[in-house]
Every structure is written in structure tokens, then in C-alpha cells.
């Protein structure tokens, strides 16, 4: 059975909430960090908290860099005309949000930088449809800014420059190195989405999707211990909020894995800024889509 397609208004509401209201787990993590911090780091964190409250109350963008909408539509079971319709409604919602100050016009010509001003371009927004193994229809959106996107990176193991072999210790070294190289440029304290395995393209894709996972739902299995160890180790680097020293440097690390070619061993890190803007539309049984 296929679900309905969200209306333009429902897409607009998704984008407004995503842009203006941080997820509760992210806000809680900022709040906990603030209690433990002082000095410059404390000032920066208190600005982050105050900003989140102001943005939610005013329904205005948490950050002026509203990114490029990354959309994952799961379990809708749409045929090709349904997918066209989905994309058309989403594009209309982006145009509305761009003219009303919910989104910044961020789609520019690759070579000339010319900005058509409506937030739409070739390959923007990014939409992915997945239908296998889904119980409920959902539409997830991630608004990820350019600063954090620019510090994402990929390692091909073995990597002798950081002493990383093809094992858990090698993976650990890659992720710490990525956090060190980013310093504060991705707007720390960040959330690191990591893909172990995959190929060049799927590694980046799957690393970014880890940012949809909640901070209070850690991995189980092989990566569970590594995720929490890495948070402590990266936070001991002293990079701190916005890279101005102190702690924390990360709010969380989420690791997922994909099968790989025997000859390849990629570790890919997607850097999510502290203002991690992810929201979901959930289909209710009566056909209405609700933002959660």
C-alpha cells in the first residue's frame, strides 16, 4: 500500500520547524554542556542556548546558513509519477520558505556563483526514496550548512600518515584525526556521523545519514563502546565550542557500517554542526502528515 504524498503546506511546516526548532536531544546536550563549562566556552554555549530559544519562539532560522535540504523519503511506495509529484511539491515549499525568510537562497551556479534566488538548482534539493523494510512512511529532512559540510572527510585505510590500519584502532584514529583537523570550523561542539566501509560515494552518503540518529540512541554491537570512548577522547583535545578552547568539542559520535570491497576500507566522517537541524514528517493513519 502506498502512502499519500505530503502537501505543499505540510512540506512548508517541515521546513519551518527544521530551520527554527532544534531537536530536543540536541538542545538537551547543549544544556548539559553548559552546566559543566565556564569562561569563554560557557559564554559561547549560553549564546547557543539563548539562540535556540529565540529561534523557536520567533519561528526564525536558528542559523542563517540553512544549508541545502537533504531529504530521505522512506516507505512511501511511490511510482515514477508519484516521485515527480513529491519533488514538485517539495520544490514549491522550498520556494515559499526561501521568500518568507525560513531558508536562505543557497543554490548557486557551480562555476559563476550566480544566485537565482529561489533555493532550487540542478541536484538541489537532494531527494532519496527508499522503500525496503519500512513499517511506516516517513520523510526526513536535514538542513546542513556549508561550514560543516566543508570539513567532512574520507580516509582510505591503511593510512600511514595517521598510523591507521584496518581495525577498530584504525577507525578510532581516523575519527579523532577528523575532529582535530576540523578544529572549530564545523561549528563545534559537533556531532560526527561516521560510515565504516562502503565505497567513495556510499561512504559519504551513509555517514551523513548517521546524523539522523538521535544522540540518546547509541549504537549497539561492534561500535557501541567506540562511540562513547571517542566522545571522551575528542573532548580531551581542548578545541571546545567554536574552537575557542575548553570543552566540549563534540556532543556525540554515531557510527554505521556498510559492506565493502575486499580491497577498499573507507572511513568517512560527516560533520554535523551543533545546530543540527533534522526533522521528520510522519504519516498518520488518516493520511495527515505530522512534524516530529
Amino acid at each position: 500500500m502506498s502512502a499519500t504524498i505530503p502537501s505543499v503546506d505540510e512540506f512548508v511546516e517541515l521546513l519551518v520547524v527544521a530551520s527554527s526548532d532544534l531537536p530536543d536531544d540536541v538542545e538537551a546536550a547543549i544544556g548539559r554542556a553548559l552546566l559543566l563549562s565556564g569562561g569563554t566556552a560557557g559564554c559561547i554555549l549560553s549564546e547557543m542556548r539563548d539562540n535556540s530559544e529565540l529561534a523557536r519562539v520567533r519561528r526564525q532560522p536558528v542559523c542563517q546558513d540553512t544549508g541545502i535540504p537533504y531529504v530521505l523519503a522512506t516507505g512511501l511506495g511511490l511510482d515514477s509519477s508519484g516521485r515527480r509529484d513529491f519533488k514538485a511539491r517539495l520544490a514549491e515549499a522550498i520556494r515559499i520558505c526561501t521568500s518568507s525568510g525560513v531558508l536562505r537562497p543557497n543554490a548557486v551556479d557551480a562555476l559563476t556563483g550566480v544566485n537565482p534566488g529561489d533555493g532550487i538548482g540542478e541536484g538541489i534539493p537532494q531527494v532519496h526514496f527508499e522503500d525496503e523494510g519500512c513499517e511506516r512512511a516517513t520523510v526526513d529532512v536535514l538542513l546542513k550548512g556549508g561550514g560543516s559540510e566543508n570539513v567532512g572527510c574520507q580516509y582510505s585505510l591503511p593510512d600511514q600518515s595517521i598510523g591507521a590500519g584496518r581495525d577498530l584502532e584504525g577507525i578510532r584514529r581516523c575519527i579523532i584525526d577528523a575532529a582535530f583537523r576540523a578544529q572549530g570550523l564545523g561549528c563545534s561542539p559537533g556531532i560526527l556521523g561516521v560510515c565504516v566501509g562502503g565505497d567513495r560515494a556510499s561512504g559519504y552518503e551513509f555517514a551523513k545519514r548517521q546524523l539522523f540518529r538521535r544522540l540518546d540512541h547509541p549504537s549497539s554491537g561492534a561500535f557501541a563502546a567506540l562511540e562513547s570512548e571517542l566522545v571522551d577522547q575528542i573532548n580531551s583535545l581542548g578545541i571546545g565550542p567554536m574552537g575557542l578552547g575548553g570543552s566540549p568539542t563534540v556532543l556525540g559520535v554515531r557510527i554505521g557500517s556498510l559492506a565493502r570491497h575486499p580491497a577498499s576500507f573507507f572511513v568517512t566522517v560527516a560533520y554535523g554542526c551543533w545546530a543540527l537541524r533534522r526533522r521528520r514528517l510522519l504519516a498518520s493513519p488518516d493520511g495527515v502528515w505530522v512534524v516530529v
Binding site: C43, I44, L54, C63, Q64, G101, N106, G147, F180, G184
Partner: protein, 209 residues
């Protein structure tokens, strides 16, 4: 915090120097600032991102010199909404400053800027130019777009909108108590360099050299 300054958050008393600044302002005041000082800036600041910096470096336009003289340039591409004949700024945090490193030193000197507001800090050439001109780099909190926009009380001027679009245009913001941290000062000191060095040492301790 009735004076508007930050008290330093949860667990540690904040001992940094806290200063109110004006833009345009007095270079001797700017010269006396040191890394770690917290400031609240009021007056007029001018935004510039990649296209504005390239244009300022290449075209040397006289028309914008009065806007920049003894003022701060702000690395920012805002979210702005038309409001009658004017504009309302709804989100306006800093963008990554390092992209302007090739231009910044020359622009600081050519236009007589007091300094730069941005995020992430800048490199050697800018640091040397700040020392030569008695300027500072002010670090604003990335992602705090809504909070920082609430300190923008007016948009008295706007240049290059048609050419560059909303994020890249040259916006003149009137600001009141705009919060920032001095992270590069006129003695050549840079908090970004010292955090990088400290974290490099700690990285070596974690994973070996």
C-alpha cells in the same frame, strides 16, 4: 547579567576583560584589546563574503570607502526578508572567515578598517596586517543566527544586491550590543593558533605522534 555581558556559564567565574566598543570607533581602544576579551559592539558594521572581498580587492570602489573607514567588516550572509521599503534581518550569524584570507590583509589597509568579525579565525597574513594597523579579529558564535540578528536594529544601507544576491550582498547593519570574543589582537596573538597547538599536543598523547 543586567549589564548585558556574559557571566561565563555554569561552573566557573568569568574573569575576562569585558568591553563596550563602537564601530566606527577609536583605534587606540581597539589596539588595547587582547585575545580573550569579550566585547559588545554597537554602531555600524558592513557585511562582506567572497564576492564582496574579491570586488573590494580588484575594483577599489571609492563609493564604499566612507562605509568601511574605521569600521568593522562582518563575514556574514544573512537571511533577510523585505519589509515595506526596507529589510528585516531574521538570521545573521558569521560565516567561515578563512575563505577571505587571500584578500583580508590588503583590504584592512586599503580601506582603513578597524577589524574583522567572523568565525574560525584567519591566517598569518591577516594577523600581520592587524598588528600593522592596530586592528582586531572579533569572533562571533557560529550558528547563533537568530540571537545575533536580534542585535541588528536597522539596515541603513545595502549595496550590490542585484549583482551578488542576498547572501553575498554588502549589507550595512546598525547593531546594538552585538556580542563577540577577541581571538586575534594587534600584538599578533591568535587564540586559534594556541588552541591548534594545544590540541596537536593532546592528539599526539592520544594516538601517538
Amino acid at each position: 547579567m543586567s549589564d548585558g555581558f556574559c557571566s561565563g556559564g555554569g561552573s566557573v567565574n568569568f574573569e575576562a576583560n569585558q568591553v563596550r566598543l563602537q564601530s566606527p570607533g577609536d583605534r587606540d581602544v581597539i589596539r588595547s584589546l587582547r585575545v580573550g576579551d569579550r566585547v559588545l559592539l554597537s554602531g555600524f558594521i558592513v557585511t562582506g563574503r567572497d564576492l564582496v572581498h574579491r570586488m573590494l580587492a580588484r575594483d577599489l570602489p571609492d563609493s564604499v570607502r566612507p562605509l568601511l573607514r574605521n569600521a568593522f567588516i562582518y563575514h556574514c550572509g544573512p537571511v533577510a526578508v523585505r519589509d515595506g521599503a526596507g529589510w528585516r534581518i531574521v538570521s545573521a550569524g558569521p560565516t567561515t572567515s578563512m575563505r577571505e584570507e587571500p584578500y583580508q590583509a590588503g583590504i584592512l589597509k586599503e580601506y582603513g578598517l578597524l577589524g574583522v568579525i567572523g568565525k574560525g579565525g584567519m591566517g598569518r597574513a591577516t594577523s600581520i596586517a592587524l598588528a600593522e594597523t592596530g586592528g582586531v579579529y572579533l569572533h562571533a558564535t557560529g550558528g547563533a543566527g537568530s540571537l545575533l540578528a536580534s542585535r541588528i536594529v536597522g539596515v541603513p544601507d545595502l549595496r550590490y544586491l542585484a549583482e551578488f544576491g542576498v547572501p553575498e550582498a554588502m549589507w550595512v547593519f546598525q547593531v546594538s550590543d552585538f556580542p563577540a570574543t577577541v581571538t586575534m589582537d594587534s600584538t599578533g596573538s591568535s587564540l586559534h593558533e594556541s588552541v591548534l597547538e594545544l590540541s596537536r599536543e593532546r592528539l599526539a598523547a592520544l594516538v601517538g605522534p
